[in-house]
């Protein structure tokens, strides 16, 4: 099946009902997406499917046919955001961070406080209390993209 992963067109042979998460990790060698719960609750497996955040543990591979998939490994042009996660304490253990950054990258350009809160509500972080994550997003926004 053909799809675009991180800007590269690839052809992957995998069962259509295999979880996109497993295809990315096992067939494509992209381990940035993590499995935290396997039921779409924690958001650690978040990737962008045609630019929109999805929980890849609930996406059957067949649904990604012809789509553009972006994982944390392929996120481009968002260095200010990634850097701010480091400097503002937006990441502690790091397990939620790839999904969190992708969810943050998909927020609207001039996101309000409530937009950010709502946009990240599907991504659990057990370390930071989210406060450092808000600081990181705010800082990246103030620096522009």
């Amino acid at each position: 099946m053909r799809l675009t992963v991180n800007g590269r067109r690839v052809n992957v042979a995998a069962p259509p009902m295999k979880r996109l998460l497993d295809v990315l990790r096992e067939e494509c060698g992209l381990t940035g997406a993590k499995e935290g719960c396997g039921e779409g609750e924690c958001g650690a497996c978040t990737v962008l499917l045609d630019g929109a955040p999805v929980v890849s543990c609930l996406v059957p591979f067949a649904q990604a046919r012809g789509a553009r998939v972006t994982t944390i490994e392929g996120l481009r042009g968002r260095e200010a955001l990634q850097r701010a996660f480091v400097t503002e304490g937006g990441a502690q253990c790091g397990i939620c961070t790839p999904g969190m950054i992708l969810a943050a990258a998909a927020l609207p350009k001039k996101a309000s406080k409530e937009d950010v809160r709502f946009g990240l509500a599907g991504n659990l972080c057990r370390c930071t209390g989210y406060t450092g994550i808000y600081r990181a997003i705010r800082k990246a926004a103030s620096k522009g993209r």
Binding site: K34, E35, G36, C37, G38, E39, E41, C42, A44, T87, E88, G89, A91, Q92, C93, G94, I95, C96, V116, R117, F118, L120, A121, G122, N123, L124, C125, R126, C127, T128, G129, Y130, T131, G132
Partner: protein, 672 residues
């Protein structure tokens, strides 16, 4: 590599009659008869088997291990563990077996109560809490060099090392444990990794191939340790002016099926049970008991959140009984420098109970909001608390932790078994060493936590990694600096060859402790905190929504203020979850809601603005004045929130304070 899987008991208590399966030869099957050494998970007691032999003491107890190259086949495999069921003990108040009991006493309780104008009594309950690190438990065991190497998500490489040596009857050098990047732990990867590492190692040694075991979320929640539930009773004598004259506390903790760390969780709970208050007459009796539920274990705070929840909600009820301002009551009794704790520890200058209380009250506008919100659906409450840094009592002396520094061309390499799990161990240690050596931060490396190459700096627990291990590293750096003299590292290496400095924990002068009587200096130092919670009750659903949490904390000195703030914010959020959302539903000894759809932890939508404030008060025996910060922040949010709920007029005394429980609690008498 093979995948491993654990076959577990399906009953809370009974005897194994027979284990049956018809698995093809592609499967590696391990049971207790394959254990070359001794069949227990080495920790404090020798009671918990790595694989059950006959007796089943809890649901999800490991019985048989399977490994297979094909993960799907492995998951489909069926093994029948036939058991004779026995009646399970599920209520800790009816437990026939006590793991540990202890009493802390000072003064004379009777004369304390006779000096009281008012006596206030109450019972307080706290529930299980799941650590819910986002990365579940997982390890890989590799058979090599006539022994085994385990790579895993874990906090304490040397705990696992010791457990494997005993389980596998292998000498030191044949067992190697390497910590891999760990996706959160919070105590949940303190003792349990010894179990899962043992399982993977047994499979790997039998298969003669590497074996990987990774739990899915449901298995992780059903089988691994949680925070001990507690039932705590207080009886307090108080004079009309608010002075505490007698404190009598009774603590009961549910240890679950095996002893694990219950004895030390209990002693930390007891030492903190009177709260950060002065009182001449104190008795604290504490007991942890067995039930046929999965063993409870380490979770950030380690008993202190439970006992201080009770102490602070009780303090609120004392203020209510006296019709006294809750801040004034706490000010009157707060511990000051020179005061003695219930164990007889004389407190040093770094005692900041009053400072954190005043700052939190002022900063949050406590009194103004308390008046303005009276009778509305908004409430405000506070909690004053403290937390001892490092192992309890003589624990640090017994651990005798070692840390080492190796000179490199650019600076030094840190060698410790202390692990990074998000709290900033590597950064903070490197800062301490760089500063003490007078070498730029970039010149400091940190070696992997690998038992083959680092000394045993003790477990990464108990808010000890900065204050205790950081201090040993500071000692190493000072000696290294003296040896270097005016030479650069490069010059030294050219002239004298390799340099490695190893140092051991030094007990601060004057510290003493008696295990038998629980008297003396329980901790090298304490951190101090005051939380103010502002909440709103939804008039339709009855849910409590936290609006803002002000957390003012003093832990000596913050080595890295952003990381330290992260500890306050994260610990506070976990405390909010424990107070309002996190409800482990135990049914017949089994966690019935072992998934994230119905075990709720705070999302962004549930977490309020957290105003974290750090106060300085350097501790002379910590590195650059630092004490521990990891656990302190989780002691305060739950009592602060419940006291805010009390401000709304509900007689809340237990957590999680769900809408259902609040309806049961009912309105208390709020008439003036």
């Amino acid at each position: 590599m093979l995948w491993g899987r654990t076959i577990r008991s399906e009953i809370p208590r009974g005897r194994i009659r027979e284990v049956r399966h018809t698995l093809d030869p592609g499967f590696v099957v391990v049971d207790h008869r394959d254990i070359p050494g001794r069949n227990f998970v080495a920790l404090i007691e020798e009671d918990q088997p790595c694989l059950a032999e006959r007796e089943i003491r809890h649901f999800a107890e490991p019985v048989v291990l399977l490994a297979h190259a094909d993960r799907d086949k492995l998951l489909e495999a069926r093994v029948n563990v036939a058991c004779d069921r026995e009646e399970a003990v599920l209520d800790p108040e009816r437990s026939p077996k006590t793991f540990k009991d202890l009493t802390i006493a000072k003064g004379n309780l009777e004369s304390g109560f006779s000096a009281a104008d008012v006596v206030v009594e109450g019972e307080y309950r706290t529930g299980h809490q799941e650590q819910l690190y986002i990365e579940p438990n997982g390890v890989i065991a590799v058979p090599e060099n006539g022994g085994v190497t385990v790579y895993g998500s874990l906090q304490c490489p040397y705990y696992v090392h010791r457990a494997l040596k005993i389980l596998l009857a292998l000498p030191d050098e044949k067992v190697r444990v390497v910590q891999t990047e760990t996706g959160g732990a919070f105590g949940g990867k303190e003792e349990y990794p010894s179990m899962i590492a043992g399982h993977a190692a047994l499979l790997a040694l039998k298969a003669k191939r590497p074996v990987k075991i990774v739990y899915d979320r449901a298995e992780d929640m059903v089988a691994t340790t949680k925070r001990h539930p507690a039932i705590i009773r207080h009886r307090t004598g108080v004079a009309k002016d608010g002075r505490l004259t007698a404190i009598d506390v009774d603590i009961l903790m549910d240890g679950g099926a095996y002893a694990t760390l219950s004895a030390v969780v209990l002693s930390r709970a007891a030492i903190h049970a009177a709260g950060p208050y002065r009182c001449a007459n104190v008795r604290i009796r504490a007991r942890s008991v067995m039930t046929n539920t999965p063993p409870n274990g380490a979770f950030r705070g380690f008993g202190a959140p439970q006992s201080q929840f009770a102490a602070e909600v009780h303090m609120e009820r004392i203020a209510e009984a006296l019709r006294m301002d809750p801040v004034k009551l706490r000010e009157r009794n707060a511990l000051r420098p020179g005061d003695e704790t219930p164990t007889g520890q004389k407190l040093g200058k770094d005692t900041s109970a009053l400072a954190v209380l005043r700052e939190a009250v002022h900063r949050s506008g406590f009194h103004r909001k308390r008046r303005a919100w009276a009778g509305s659906n908004r409430g405000i409450g506070l909690a004053l608390f403290f937390h001892g840094s490092g192992f309890t009592g003589s624990g640090e002396v017994k651990l005798a932790s070692k840390a080492a520094l190796e000179l490199t061309e650019t600076g030094a390499r840190i060698l410790v078994a202390s692990t990074e799990m998000g709290q900033g161990t590597r950064t903070m240690h490197a800062q301490i060493v760089a500063e003490a050596l007078g070498i730029p931060y970039e010149g400091i490396e940190v070696a992997d936590a690998d038992t083959a190459s680092v000394p045993d700096s003790g477990p990464t627990v108990a808010s000890r990694t900065c204050m205790v291990v950081g201090k040993i590293l500071e000692d190493c750096a000072e000696e290294m600096k003296a040896r270097l003299g005016k030479m650069t590292p490069r010059e030294y290496l050219r002239r004298h060859g390799p340099l490695r400095v190893t140092k051991e924990y030094r007990r601060p002068p004057g510290m003493r402790w008696s295990e038998e009587t629980s008297r003396g200096d329980a901790y090298g130092a304490y951190g101090w905190g005051c939380d103010v919670a502002e909440i709103e009750r939804d008039p339709v659903t009855g849910e409590i929504r936290p609006l803002r949490l002000t957390a003012v904390q003093e832990f000596g000195r913050a080595i890295h203020p952003i990381l330290a703030k992260g500890q306050i914010e994260g610990g506070t959020a976990q405390g909010i979850g424990w107070a309002l959302l996190e409800d482990v539903a135990m049914r017949e000894g089994r966690m019935a809601n072992a998934q994230l759809t119905n075990y709720l932890v705070p999302t962004t939508a549930d977490t309020p603005a957290i105003d974290a404030v750090i106060l300085d008060n350097p501790y002379p025996h910590g590195p650059f004045g630092a004490k521990g910060v990891g656990e302190l922040p989780i002691d305060g949010p739950a009592p602060a929130i419940v006291n805010a709920i009390r401000h709304l007029g509900f007689d809340a005394r237990s957590i999680p304070a769900t809408p259902e429980r609040l309806l049961d609690a009912g309105a208390r008498d709020v008439s003036p």
